[in-house]
Symmetry: C2
DNA sequence: TCGTGCGTTCAGAATATTGAGAACGATCGT
DNA sequence: ACGATCGTTCTCAATATTCTGAACGCACGA
């Protein structure tokens, strides 16, 4: 059973499920993940399905996805034939894996297309200017994201560092 | 007419349309935006619809959304009765507006639910530990995002600064 | 080797999202 | 004041996504 009151767990499960769309995983997957995070002992597939009111099939697919993301793991339970699942302690990892994939599929092609457009002969005046500017911006973003993706470990502490960084409150002269 | 070859513009429009899902705007809206970015002179609604092969209705709604995001503006064209549209130079702004909204709707409730869960009496051992850890992480993320959202201007230069930051390659001792 | 329990897969149902196009209302020139 | 032009809104159709549940296959015990 969960470590807190059922209602609080329930609320967390739903909120997490809704947030899934932020990083592009679907509601069921996120809800399964949330339930495992909120539960101490390993859960069997069927219990997960029952608790979340989803079909066994759906639960199975969701668990598979979570395993490929590396955020859920199967464990053996003595005297049990069924598979049991627990969450990995590092959620961070999931964000990385997903971010990486989305970047590859959605961001990279767009950046490439912009570059093609900027480099194209015939790109003139204002259009060229703003596209160049945008290409620069996206390239910067890409650089930052790549750094983060390269090394989950240190990016985490980098994040904490950035959180403490003094930008945004003092005058910031040059653009 | 666009500032570059039609094919390159086309490619950009499609790539940008596909990338839309990354920040949560739909394909049509993103494509309209892309077309305006790639076009020097103001475009009338009907021409946009024709170029993108979408209905006038859809174009109208898309333009409205882009205007509320503040990335597209209506302009008057001498001797024309129709409305014409141009893109604002600052794309950055759009990301901010959208990010802000999604944070409010998706992220904040989840963070709140986690806190409730951690604070709940009855939260025990391992579960409590990992939820606390996650709450910390998300709170840090929230802090960073809030900073960015607060001030588009300086966050932009902060981004450039971060891009040049030397994390990730040297040993990074503590947590 | 057969029967049972279990997990996975997959076709198609249910649902959510997106888009088309008709209907409408506003504005402008005459 | 009337017709023509244009933009917006809204209903319903098309499409994409998500989910269910039946069918299947595997492993184990008898």
């Amino acid at each position: 059973m969960p470590a807190a009151t059922p209602e609080t767990v329930q609320r967390f499960v739903e909120a997490w499920g809704a947030m899934g769309s932020l990083w592009g995983i679907n509601r069921s997957v996120a809800r399964v993940h949330a339930l495992l995070m909120a539960t101490e002992e390993p859960l069997a597939l069927e219990e997960i399905a029952e608790r979340l009111q989803i079909s066994k099939g759906n639960a199975s697919m969701s668990l598979r996805e979570l395993r490929t993301f590396g955020v859920v793991r199967q464990v053996e339970v003595a005297g049990e034939r069924r598979d049991f699942y627990v969450t990995e302690p590092d959620v961070w990892l999931m964000f990385f894996r997903i971010l990486k994939e989305r970047k590859r599929r959605e961001f990279d092609p767009a950046l490439e297309a912009i570059h093609a457009l900027v480099d194209a002969p015939g790109a003139t005046g204002a259009v060229r200017g703003r596209l160049e500017q945008m290409a620069d911006l996206l390239t910067t973003v890409e650089g930052v994201v790549n750094r983060f993706l390269q090394d989950p470990q240190s990016s985490r502490s980098a994040l904490a560092f950035i959180a403490g960084m003094p930008f945004g409150r003092r005058q910031n002269g040059k653009g």
